[in-house]
């Protein structure tokens, strides 16, 4: 987390194109890292700062579209902006369906590239924030005892203490005590907040 400046990765096999893109990004105060192949990018370390990938479609070795699939398979979620000299419609729609931010035709205008890059960085930032938040919540959940976790699962469904006690075979007083421990450990100030936290955690817990 030492280096939180956003980074834009640029992969293009043409040296003059990648230099030009990095020059443009630099001129508006963004930091770029360039690579001549997807393989080189794949091997390079990726920082924990928000980032996005400007990717040429036609590359020697693993091409842009193929690489996008590879990233998805490996669960690497970095926003991708495609650049290409000859975009045909099927290619474009394939890339967009797979979640690309933009599909830019070379030569592209500054505004289009920068808008796409900013959108990509934003998307990555939001995703990273969410992930960080989930990590924090997960750490809190891990502190709960299994009984407390059971209580929490029922609390967030909207049941009152009495009903929870009936379901778990506990007295209302015991449920109340568990409940206040849950609120404390989860650092939730209200029932509504606890529900929201549990919603965020849900997709994780299912796995």
């Amino acid at each position: 987390m030492a280096d939180a400046r956003p980074t834009i990765f640029v992969v293009d096999d043409d040296a003059s194109v990648r230099d030009a893109i990095s020059n443009l990004l630099e001129s508006v105060g963004l930091r770029a890292k360039v690579f001549d192949s997807t393989e080189a990018f794949w091997k390079a370390p990726r920082p924990s700062a928000p980032s996005c990938l400007v990717l040429d479609v036609r590359l020697p070795g693993v091409g842009g579209l193929e690489f996008q699939e590879q990233l998805a398979k490996a669960n690497v979620s970095i926003p991708v902006i495609f650049i290409t000299a000859h975009g045909d419609v099927p290619m474009t729609s394939r890339a967009m369906k797979a979640g690309a931010i933009e599909f830019l035709m070379k030569p592209f205008q500054k505004e289009d590239l920068l808008a796409a890059v900013r959108q990509g960085l934003d998307r990555d930032r939001i995703r990273r924030d969410e992930q960080a938040e989930i990590a924090v919540l997960q750490a809190r959940v891990d502190q709960l005892t299994s009984r407390e976790r059971e209580v929490m699962d029922l609390v967030v469904t909207g049941l009152i203490n009495k009903e929870i006690g009936a379901q778990l075979g506990l007295s209302e007083v015991t449920v109340k005590a568990h409940r206040s421990h849950v609120m404390q450990k989860m650092e939730a100030s209200s029932l509504a907040e606890l529900v929201r936290m549990s919603d965020k955690l849900k997709p994780r817990e299912r796995r």
Binding site: S16, V17, A20, L24, V28, A85, H86
Partner: protein, 379 residues
């Protein structure tokens, strides 16, 4: 092979024959003489060997010479009475048998040699023919390769577009960056200066790509082939026939037999005619109110040839008439716009002219001239 006319040659070959015959006879004589010491009866088989070898290496004449000489030697040394030319009656039959066998051996050997030489000649000739045919085939193949290169313009377009688009993208992107560096507060002149250098480099690179393409189309020095324009046209109509049928276009030719031949680069001329024909066919893609017809005609006199390619397509508007010869001018979605520009430079390199005009009944006429040089006629 055997020169019988020149006397010098005959003398020399006579000496050669004698030499060969003598050589083998001595080679047979010495061992036979030695054997004579050891065995009481004459050993003559080595003489057969000498006769056959002489006939083989020296031909029929050397063979016969060897027969005569060995007869003399055998008579003198090895037929009783020894060391005399007289022959005892008991040895007569034996001696006659030797002479006859030696003759037969000489004849067989020289005949065998002759047939073997004939066979070798035939093989040599065959080899020459095969290599001639191979060379011809290879020539046709390279011509075809060149032709198909011209035909797959679509693919070429894609790769050219890519090659030029890369430096172009770099130039545009650096341009944007440069304006950012300049509008910063304070302006970053150093970066702007660096960026301008890059722009110059990339612009130069784009120019180099174009130069390379141009040289790809225009071979350095046009080869001077001696060619019949009718033949060129005929080849191309055959070549495009399937394509034309698929596109419901009738290709007609109007050629006059016996037009003067011209010196020109065959492949380049093929390119020109092919470009014009393909353009004509393209121009008729949308034609529906009249029949789609491509007419190629050639006329000529003692000073020049005129080749016309006419179509019944959409025609040319007056404004486009000159622009169409500009490099990269195209109205086709996947066009490259180099066809006419290249064709014109090829024709001009051949000291001819290429121009376009509207066809009165609708469509376009493209025609070019090629000079006929009188001195060509002895090529």
């Amino acid at each position: 092979m055997q020169s019988s006319a020149r006397t010098g040659g005959t003398t020399r070959s006579l000496i050669r024959h004698c030499g060969i015959a003598l050589f083998f006879l001595v080679a047979a004589f010495v061992p036979t003489l030695l054997l004579q010491r050891l065995f009481p009866y004459p050993f003559l088989f080595l003489f057969f060997g000498a006769v056959m070898a002489s006939a083989w290496f020296g031909g029929k004449a050397a063979g016969l010479l060897a027969v005569v000489l060995s007869t003399v030697l055998v008579d003198y040394f090895f037929v009783p009475p020894f060391y005399s030319f007289s022959i005892s009656t008991t040895a007569e039959a034996y001696f006659a048998a030797f002479v006859a066998s030696a003759l037969v051996a000489s004849w067989i050997s020289s005949a065998k040699k002759k047939s073997e030489e004939a066979l070798k000649d035939a093989l040599d000739q065959l080899e020459v023919r095969v290599s001639e045919r191979t060379a011809e085939l290879m020539k046709t193949q390279t011509e075809l390769a060149h032709l198909s290169q011209v035909l797959s313009m679509g693919e070429l377009t894609a790769s050219i577009a890519h090659e030029i688009n890369q430096p172009l993208t770099a130039v545009v992107t650096h341009g944007h960056a440069c304006s950012e560096w300049l509008s910063a507060n304070p302006p970053n002149l150093e970066k702007a200066q660096q960026t301008v250098q890059r722009i110059i480099q990339d612009g130069t690179r784009a120019g180099a790509v174009l130069a390379r393409i141009r040289s790809l189309f225009k071979k350095e020095a046009p080869a001077k082939d001696w060619l019949d324009i009718n033949e060129v046209i005929h080849e191309l109509t055959t070549f495009l026939r399937d394509d034309a049928i698929r596109r419901r276009i009738a290709i007609r030719t109007d050629l006059v037999p016996g037009l003067p031949k011209v010196t020109a680069d065959r492949v380049q001329l093929q390119q020109v005619v092919l470009n014009l024909m393909m353009n004509g066919m393209d121009a008729m893609a949308e034609t529906s109110d009249r029949s789609k017809e491509l007419l190629i005609s050639a006329r000529g006199d003692e000073s020049e040839l005129v080749v016309r390619v006419e179509d019944s397509g959409m025609g040319l508007d007056a404004e486009a008439n000159e622009k169409i010869f500009d490099p990269f001018f195209t109205t086709k979605p996947h066009g490259i716009g180099m066809g006419l520009s290249i064709s014109r430079s090829i024709i001009e390199a051949h000291e001819g002219r290429l121009w376009a005009s509207p066809r009165p009944s609708g469509g376009a006429i493209f025609q070019f001239t090629l000079p006929v040089h009188p001195r060509d006629s002895n090529g």
